[in-house]
């Protein structure tokens, strides 16, 4: 059994947590300004979720440009580093991560949290079957080398992620049968003015549609997943529009409903949130000294806002002036993000508790019928174990919030399961 023995400790001027667009942009600008910058990211390589390294050549020049610039900047990247704890150490912050079984401590007076977002899952009968994944999850695994050639796929749920995921799957040789978006067409049409200001987005969307339409898929609005059926893996999915039902056979069901910000780490150090997002000032500073947040935790708004905010945070942390163009880019990105969130907001049918036998908490196998809607999230956790498992409520929390109206509970260290030995600091022997 491998026990953690080695440990590393580094000090720097600015620590950045997350190497997605916001984190890379922040680290790059801060390092270019002459600061010693260390970045921690738990992925296999830089890029976060949206700029995932793939085996095939990327056609995303923005990603490639930023990655190249990041590599030239002098910032250090610790990949495979999962941050599980963060606390004050005198006037600085200590970030503790598990990196390949060992403990890594990064200490810095200023920290930029660019921890991104994760998919929102809503339980439905059969969602726990192997072969049912999130849209981002499926895309991540395909980019990690999963061979989906010939697999029959249904893409469902909600949000702008559905189109690029369907395109990725089609390009990888899967047969995408349908893309089912729960939002009604009327809501999506309202996006047109916002998108018109950003013609690049429309072009992108058209490109995605072309890619998967080639294999016969259709983009249907106002349809959602009622249930998945199968014995060991998913075999069929039942889609509905509230009146009609349609059953399709499939090998893979990709279903997720937009994104939720990763607030666990900011909350664990006392950063205030407002309406479900981190509150920041013009320089991306929070109300906690030395802590900046950039990107999705400030509001789900996509790549452009993340790049702008990351740069602003990096410059502000480095004590440099922020270009007006970045502020304008942030504003534009945020307003597009807000329009997207509004357009893809969840319909009432999806916000009701599921059938009583449907599992809500996957870690502890707690079903909907065991949950009393009058409980708080803490009561739910104490009464039926929902949220008590290793994911600490990251999967079921948003569902509990949307379906039962519970506000999420606080997450405690370790933010990721780590070996007991990894919890030990390297120098405390008494």
């Amino acid at each position: 059994m491998r026990a953690s023995v080695t440990a590393a400790a580094v000090r720097c001027d600015i620590a950045v947590i997350g190497a997605g667009p916001a984190g890379l942009a922040a680290a790059t600008r801060a390092a270019e300004a002459g600061k010693a910058v260390h970045v921690l990211d738990e992925g296999l390589g830089p890029g976060g979720q949206i700029w995932r390294p793939a085996r095939v050549a990327s056609n995303n020049s923005a990603a490639e440009d930023w990655l190249a610039r990041f590599r030239r900047s002098g910032a250090m990247l610790h990949h495979g580093a999962a941050v599980f704890e963060m606390h004050r150490l005198g006037a600085a912050w200590m970030i503790v991560a598990e990196c390949g079984g060992s403990r890594l401590e990064v200490t810095a007076p200023q920290v930029i949290l660019a921890v991104g977002a994760r998919e929102r899952f809503l339980p439905f009968p059969g969602w726990t079957l192997p072969g049912v994944l999130g849209n981002g999850g499926a895309q991540a695994l395909v980019k990690q080398g999963w061979n989906v050639e010939g697999k029959r796929v249904v893409v469902a749920g909600s949000g702008p992620l559905l189109l690029p995921v369907a395109a990725t799957l089609a390009k990888a040789g899967a047969r995408v049968a349908v893309v089912a978006e729960q939002a009604p067409m009327s809501a999506l049409r309202r996006l047109a003015p916002a998108l018109a200001l950003r013609p690049g987005k429309l072009w992108e969307a058209a490109g995605y549609r072309r890619a998967f339409t080639r294999c016969g898929a259709r983009y249907r609005t106002g349809w959602w997943v009622e249930r998945a059926i199968g014995s060991n893996t998913v075999a069929e999915v039942v889609l509905t529009d509230g009146r009609r039902r349609e059953t399709l056979s499939c090998d893979l069901l990709c279903v997720s409903y937009g994104l939720v910000p990763n607030l666990e780490l900011p909350r664990s150090i006392g950063v205030a949130s407002r309406a479900g997002y981190v509150a920041v000032d013009d320089g991306q500073r929070t109300d906690v000294a030395g802590i900046f947040v950039a990107g999705e935790p400030c509001g789900i708004a996509g790549v452009d806002a993340a790049l702008a905010e990351g740069q602003i945070a990096g410059l502000a942390a480095a004590g440099r002036p922020v270009e007006g163009s970045l502020r304008r880019a942030r504003r534009r990105g945020r307003s597009l993000g807000a329009a997207m969130e509004a357009a893809f907001s969840l319909r009432p049918e999806l916000l009701r508790p599921p059938e009583p036998t449907t599992i809500v908490c996957r870690c502890e196998d707690v079903t909907a019928g065991e949950i009393d809607p009058a409980w708080s999230a803490r009561q739910a956790k104490l009464s039926c174990r929902a949220g008590m498992g290793p994911c600490q409520g990251r999967v079921c929390g948003p569902a509990l919030e949307n379906l039962f109206g519970f506000a999420p509970d606080t997450v405690r260290s370790p933010l990721q399961p780590v070996a007991f030995s990894t919890l030990l600091t390297s120098d405390s022997e008494n």
Partner: protein
């Protein structure tokens, strides 16, 4: 309609009081400021253990464990009731020499206990490191899940007509009446079982928060079979028998196998008021202490750390009984780390005192007036 008794606090102690009083035929209202079992009760380990740091502690824990054992067949699955026993571990020969008289002490008072030598210890718990001297096994000690146990006691009381009002804060108490946002309500007997809020309601009540850390692991069924406690735990928790002051900061190895197969690791003690942050340095000490007994723990995955505040009195015995001179006001709090264990005995004693009768337990050692300002 006036209730015979109002119990303030729906934690394990308040729940046990409500259960005991309703069993005597009293009508009971339980007023809880948040939700039942959600306070200190929800932070506790749920170790039902007979403890010998004093005769009075032994008596209360023994009687209470007996009651939990009697109730065990009725407990629902949510209470995760287990009888695995406690294994007190002696690290060296010096500690082992102190074990034989302990075993005698328990046995003389009717509690099963057995002395284990090094080999028997290793057989009983293979994951303990070799080289430990032995220990004492108390086979009838138990474990349960405190929030569910509190709820069950309240449901049992509820079946006899007791009522529970949650999100109902009590702002003041006097003999035979309590004040909430609806004004003053009269009753026969007021039982203050609100943990730390008891001190706010009863000026002069001295209880201090004694903070503890717990870390729970991923499922590792079979990793430990008994609740494992080092003998030094007694000094950490209860000071030494010569009455010296309670230590300000200490750790002691205390590992519990939960019904889910997760391992729950304690224990630490510190006095830092109500600072609810995780003290990494002290948690470290706690883990290192555990690794001295069970090196294999190093590889288990820790999922979560939490803290709780034990309501602590200067002599480590709870405060159970009448508060002040006027009749109609009682307190039941200050149980330090034995609240879950001694809840049943506490409830029984409160019922005896309310009814003015002498029952199984002598109330004198737990008399609250010893903790009032102005008394020594």
């Amino acid at each position: 309609m006036k209730a015979d008794a109002i119990v303030i606090g729906a934690g394990i102690v308040g729940a046990a009081c409500a259960d005991a009083l309703s069993r005597e035929g009293l009508s009971v209202r339980v007023l809880e400021s948040a939700f039942a079992g959600g306070g200190t009760t929800s932070r506790a380990m749920g170790h039902l253990v007979v403890m010998d740091d004093s005769e009075a502690q032994f008596t209360l824990t023994r009687r209470s464990r007996e009651m939990w054992t009697d109730w065990a067949p009725e407990l629902p699955a949510s209470c995760e009731d287990q009888q695995g026993g406690t294994l007190w571990v002696a690290a060296d020969d010096e500690e082992l020499r102190a074990v034989a008289p302990k075993v005698e002490f328990y046995r003389a008072r009717g509690v099963q206990a057995e002395l284990l030598d090094a080999r028997a210890l290793a057989e009983a718990e293979p994951n303990l490191r070799p080289g430990l001297a032995g220990g004492m096994r108390v086979p009838e000690d138990r474990i349960l899940y405190p929030p569910a146990a509190a709820k069950w006691l309240l449901e049992r009381a509820g079946a006899r007509g007791a009522t529970l009002e949650e999100r109902c804060e009590v702002t003041a108490v006097e003999p035979s009446r309590v004040q909430t946002r609806d004004g003053w309500t009269d009753t026969g007997f007021v039982i203050v079982a609100g943990g730390f809020t008891s001190a706010r309601l009863l000026p002069g009540l001295r209880i201090e928060p004694r903070k503890g850390h717990l870390v729970i692991s991923d499922r590792a069924p079979g990793f430990a079979r008994h609740q494992l406690v080092e003998l030094g735990y007694l000094t950490s928790a209860h000071g030494t028998h010569d009455g010296s002051a309670l230590t300000r900061e200490s750790v002691a190895f205390n590992l519990q196998p939960r019904a889910t197969g997760q391992m729950l690791l304690g224990s630490s003690r510190e006095f830092v008021d109500f600072d609810d942050s995780i003290n990494s340095r002290l948690r470290d000490r706690m883990i290192r202490r555990a690794l001295e007994y069970m090196p294999a723990l190093a590889g288990l995955a820790a999922i979560r750390t939490w803290i709780g505040f034990r309501p602590c009195t200067p002599d480590n015995l709870p405060l159970i009984g009448a508060w002040g001179e006027a009749p109609g006001l009682f307190v039941a709090t200050g149980h330090e780390g034995l609240g879950i264990t001694t809840a049943p005995g506490t409830g029984e004693l409160i019922a005896d005192l309310v009814l003015g009768r002498r029952g199984a337990l002598d109330p004198l050692p737990y008399a609250p007036h010893r903790a009032m300002d102005g008394h020594s």
